[in-house]
Assembly symmetry: C2
Homo-oligomer: 474 residues x 2
Amino acid sequence: MTEYRPVTAHVVERLQNILGARNVSCDADKLLTYSRDEVQGPFWKDGCLAEVVVFPESTEDVAALVRLAGEERIPLTARGAGTGLSGGAVPARRGIVVSFEKMNRIIELDRENLTLTVEPGVVTAEINRAAVDAGLLYAGDPCSGDASFIGGNVAENAGGNKVVKYGPTGSHVLALEAVMADGSVTWFGGKRRKDVTGYDFVHLLVGSEGTLALITKIVLKLLPLPAEVVDLLVPFPDVASAVAFVPRIVTEGKVLPASIEFMDRRSINLTERFLNTNLPYSDAGAHLIIQLEGNDAESLADEYERIGDLCLAHGALEVFVADNRNSRDKLWKARKSITESVWAFHPGKNVNEDVVVPTGAVPELMRRLDEIVTRAGSAYVVFGHIGDGNMHVTAAPAPEEPDRESILHRIQDELYDVVKSLGGTLTGEHGVGLKRRDAITRFLDATQIDLIRRVKLAFDPQNILNPDKIVPWE
Amino acid sequence: MTEYRPVTAHVVERLQNILGARNVSCDADKLLTYSRDEVQGPFWKDGCLAEVVVFPESTEDVAALVRLAGEERIPLTARGAGTGLSGGAVPARRGIVVSFEKMNRIIELDRENLTLTVEPGVVTAEINRAAVDAGLLYAGDPCSGDASFIGGNVAENAGGNKVVKYGPTGSHVLALEAVMADGSVTWFGGKRRKDVTGYDFVHLLVGSEGTLALITKIVLKLLPLPAEVVDLLVPFPDVASAVAFVPRIVTEGKVLPASIEFMDRRSINLTERFLNTNLPYSDAGAHLIIQLEGNDAESLADEYERIGDLCLAHGALEVFVADNRNSRDKLWKARKSITESVWAFHPGKNVNEDVVVPTGAVPELMRRLDEIVTRAGSAYVVFGHIGDGNMHVTAAPAPEEPDRESILHRIQDELYDVVKSLGGTLTGEHGVGLKRRDAITRFLDATQIDLIRRVKLAFDPQNILNPDKIVPWE
């Protein structure tokens, strides 16, 4: 196990000299706040407390503090908005937490090359807005987008609601400025749309959770903004009929929607209570959201009518068309609030999973999930990005249940077996971080686990960048 | 410099025991053939001669021969169809060439998950056909597709004609079965559409030119097949007006075509001569091909009329609409034959470049290119994937020119300076291989060159997989 040195008063002083006193904090409340993300109540959090939090304002700041950490052999953990769901930004081995909140400039919108260059601390929704204001689309759309930073999205390769058509965050990243573990600064990629000059390190850094380098600038790819967007909200009598319908959208409907989302009845009911709102047919067994886009209103109308008819022909109870800003906003607010509403009404420790299976295996996953959780005597909520086979499962045994811990453990254990047997894996978009670090060995073989460690050390020989993450290190 | 052992008679015998005598060849003609790709006449080829060529038939064969090469410390170079344009499959340090031509099965077309699982030796065009036969689209479309193997496309991250809309080969790769340098076999990725379980090694292997592992199976992503496709062939009076028009397709036309290709007059004339055919307006300064797709014939017609009008409003001489199989095939045959026609009429050593710049920088690149080559007193041909900023440049000084070598050198040198100053890079789709190995240090800094070496050795500590490629090693 790598030995690290503590953050001494002398180190704090050196950090203050580099960053200015205003950008270095040892305040106890701040240390606690900046040592947490949105993972609910895990056992591993207590020991993971930052010794100092720093707020660099420039790439030069970051390079200087990485050099200092290297000389002093102190862990450095990069942090975005703290909206992560894997403990990726939690300082597992203490040391320095690097908050990117002050590196929050949109540097350039390049209309000629359809790129947006930003610092990592820009809020995702600001990026979406900046693109729209220029008549363009940034297609990243994580549910946490109103709060998350783009740097965190890149570090975790965040997914979200438009992966079906546009791919995850990594699909939109053309280039990264990075500070390497030795403090050198380099640009991977560029504004060019193709590049095979050497290995694809841009997309190795995407999703590497701050373990390989610190990202200080990001060049994002923008797309033409579709002129017309429409969302269909489609209630089905039960989970099985909703789930069985999904593949027909592509195979029979012959379209690739921007989104295909799934919400079970419990998800709908929780988000209705949380937002104090009503959704149509909220007692239906499950709802799909299908988002369609186009440049031509008429042919989009033809398309959504065709898809709507297909829904009704295969068991949908109704098809609601949200084609104006207001109705679309209401719908997506409900969808995006499910995670928070689950936390609100099922506080404390639960199983919060982010499993992903081949889309064709979703029906079987849902059947087996129901068996597993029912057999364990627990309630559960399931929703997610069904168009990519990525389902968020929260199992929540009754609070008065004496054996909660072991019920949760059993559910997780059996669920992982099923996911693996279906050709799926541990996490589709939330990342491994600390939360799933030990479970990863159930999904990746020894060759791959070892390769992760070796590549990590090729980038970071002293193992100071966000150590002890992704795979077990001890 | 890594020391390797020669292929002795004993090694050949062991190879025969593993693969069967029919799958091991030391025939002099074969050794020569399997030591070359389609790079024309470079100085470095003579020393690069395979000592033995092997034809594995299964993953187990590959694993066994990698183990043998590791024990004996003999270089192993993977080879597809030999259509490469970078010397990627040329055995720089001799040893064993591994031809994948006998691993050529389409293993599974999974209609439910929209995937195609293949061995690396399947010809790309066969994959395109298999998808179309199932009413689906495999969007990879390299110009060499009638001959190239999918394994080579993956190893080089081949681009081609549909990158504008669909991305390069890597965008279509969901999973890879790979034999690692120690002979272990592992699957990276799966049929799932998202995956953040560990680092993205799938897309690190894509484009790694056989230097990190040997790929033995590939899972490709398929898409719904657009019902309607139309190609516009648009002559412009000169290069400048054609090039200046390109960005308007997206910004004013508001569409992302499947293809935007560029051919200068000389490209057109060479391919006409080579194919003994005529293209309309072949004396025009330049042609664009714009491919549009859709599911609805009427709205596609609206779209191509709008784009056609936009062309004519910005200087196009005419807009030819190829909307049937016959006219489309003729057009693409001409486009795809340019490289061969250049070789046919400008044989011998030329500058064959694959530079890529941000799309907005293409007009400046073209102006500077013309200056450079004209100043050097050479002829040149330029064509390529202008929608991605990826231009293929062939400078061909007159054969009787006494100082050809130094003219070519000067053109290349000046072109690289311009490309770099425009934010571009060395190779967009052909790869680095041997051809560009020494030039790469002009485009990547010392940090990145060093990182390529370290990551290579993290995968392949003995440096036996396609050694001496991508970056200088001595």
